[in-house]
Symmetry: C2
Subunit: 303 residues, 2 copies
């Protein structure tokens, strides 16, 4: 059944699903391979009542694809390992696989194999290979670089909060709910930044925490511009509906999979959100000056 949902028809894949292992062409035209694994767990990264089976598959794939995008690489092929509790049957599995395949196709990749196991709770591990000529690391940011962002932040966290409150059908929150349910890895933006960026990271755990990793790895201080983080009308509307501060959602909400890069020059598809300066830590610069902020992240579900 999975052989039907998945495909081996992607360049450089000689044998896909059905053997002990996939067989890939080792002589790719690109000089580097990047490789990630991500795992999404029921109750931690999603709740089955918040999202369709298909979206569970989609978002689990996109979480891995975002890691590859953040390296400036092009997604190539993936293996998925699923742990399925007894109440997840063939129909549900087929929907999950469909979501994975659709996400893979959107990212320019294919799922070429995997593993199924039975267990007490649902989890999906996705391992993805990508190729590039230059891998952009977390380290490499320099004082004087501008901090650029593609995509958005805070909206997925607003969507999750809306679902948690049973308000997923509120028209003012629909866009936020969609952001959480069907995020998209920024593959094209990753490829655009790869020739010039000094450093890059994707925002899975929250902008403050992830940009904090970038600053730390580069030995520089991250200064966010408050105005730039308050410029998203959809986020402002969702935050208002929830009675929350859009700035807090933008700084600490995760799972939108924005890309944040350090670069001395503008990059197509990216907008400036701050600077990298001498020092350590994080701060926010607004109309009333600059204040330090904590690199705390996003607790998927508050426990």
């Amino acid at each position: 059944m999975l052989a039907r949902a998945f495909t081996s028809r992607v360049a450089g894949v000689k044998v896909g699903i059905g053997d002990d292992a996939a067989v890939l062409d080792g002589s790719r035209e690109r000089s580097h391979i990047v490789w990630t694994i991500d795992e999404q767990v029921d109750g931690a990264h999603f709740r089955r009542d918040f999202v369709s089976w298909r979206s569970i598959g989609w978002r689990s794939f996109m979480a891995a694809a975002s890691d590859v995008a953040a390296m400036g690489a092009e997604p190539w092929c993936a293996l998925c390992a699923l742990v399925l509790p007894d109440d997840v049957g063939d129909a549900e599995l087929e929907e999950i696989a469909r979501g994975q395949s659709e996400a893979a196709a959107r990212a320019g990749a294919a799922v070429v194999g995997g593993n199924l196991a039975r267990g007490r709770s649902l989890s999906i591990a996705t391992t993805l290979l990508g190729t590039c000529d230059r891998a952009v690391l977390r380290s490499g940011a320099r004082a004087g670089d501008t901090l650029w962002m593609a995509g958005r932040v805070g909206l997925a966290a607003a969507g999750l909060r809306a679902l948690d409150l049973g308000r997923g059908d509120d028209p003012r929150l629909l866009e936020a709910v969609a952001a959480w349910r069907t995020p998209e890895a920024l593959v094209a933006e990753g490829l655009a930044m790869s020739p010039v960026a000094h450093a890059a990271i994707d925002v899975s755990d929250g902008l403050a925490r992830d940009a904090g990793h970038l600053g730390e790895a580069g030995g520089v201080r991250v200064v966010f511009e408050e105005d730039a983080l308050r410029a998203d009308d959809s986020l402002i509307q969702a935050a208002a509906a929830l009675g929350e501060d859009p700035l807090v959602l933008a700084l600490h909400g995760g799972e939108d999979y924005a890309l944040v890069v350090a670069s001395p020059q503008p990059i197509h598809g990216f907008r400036p959100i701050g600077q990298l300066v001498e020092g350590r830590g994080l701060s926010l610069r607004g109309a009333h000056g600059e204040r330090a902020i904590e690199p705390r992240g996003f607790d998927h579900f508050e426990r």
Copy 2:
């Protein structure tokens, strides 16, 4: 902490743990890359009271390494994704990672990154890359080939049964228990068979089932020689202690990770256990003639 247990110091790995993805040299001297993912789940593939944390790590790695060995490839590097319940703390995680690293070193590979998540039950997904010039597939067996085996079968199943019965300390069962707790992927044997084998598979679910896959993929009938499957003294002793038939354990017990190949010629480290002939299905040839057998496998834990 995991960065301490794991290493990036393996040829062709440019960036290991700590970035969004690992970065590998894409211009390897071998023409093919093989790639597998395997997942071991508490309660399905192991029980925490049957095995040390270190052995949980070891055997989860070896299950993946065995897939690479069965392709005739050399293990290269691995990523591991762990789901940890709240009662698995840093000390336990460190022991699991130590077992993984030791197994990786034994297999000639290294764990270069991974993912940690919290969840309700423990699972370990291992994805492993290997390299080769010729990947040996499951398909390719021909009528007239001899069926060869390296390693042993049935002993791990006897060990699991011993643990299930609370008899893990019985001296007659110690070797079987060790076979289940610390199996070893047959990497050298996989490399030895790769230039000549027509087809290969590793025995994870039981000899009858896995050799059945090999026969089915090649469109041939598998005929086992009963004498060859009864030739393991350790298995005979363990089976006697358990009051079980060693032949049933050999045919249907899994998780020893033997390698089974179809080849017209002898291979160093392999012994003949049967033939491949025209037809379909499986049979067993003994002193009293030939009888059909079912390709049923090993139920990890009878439920």
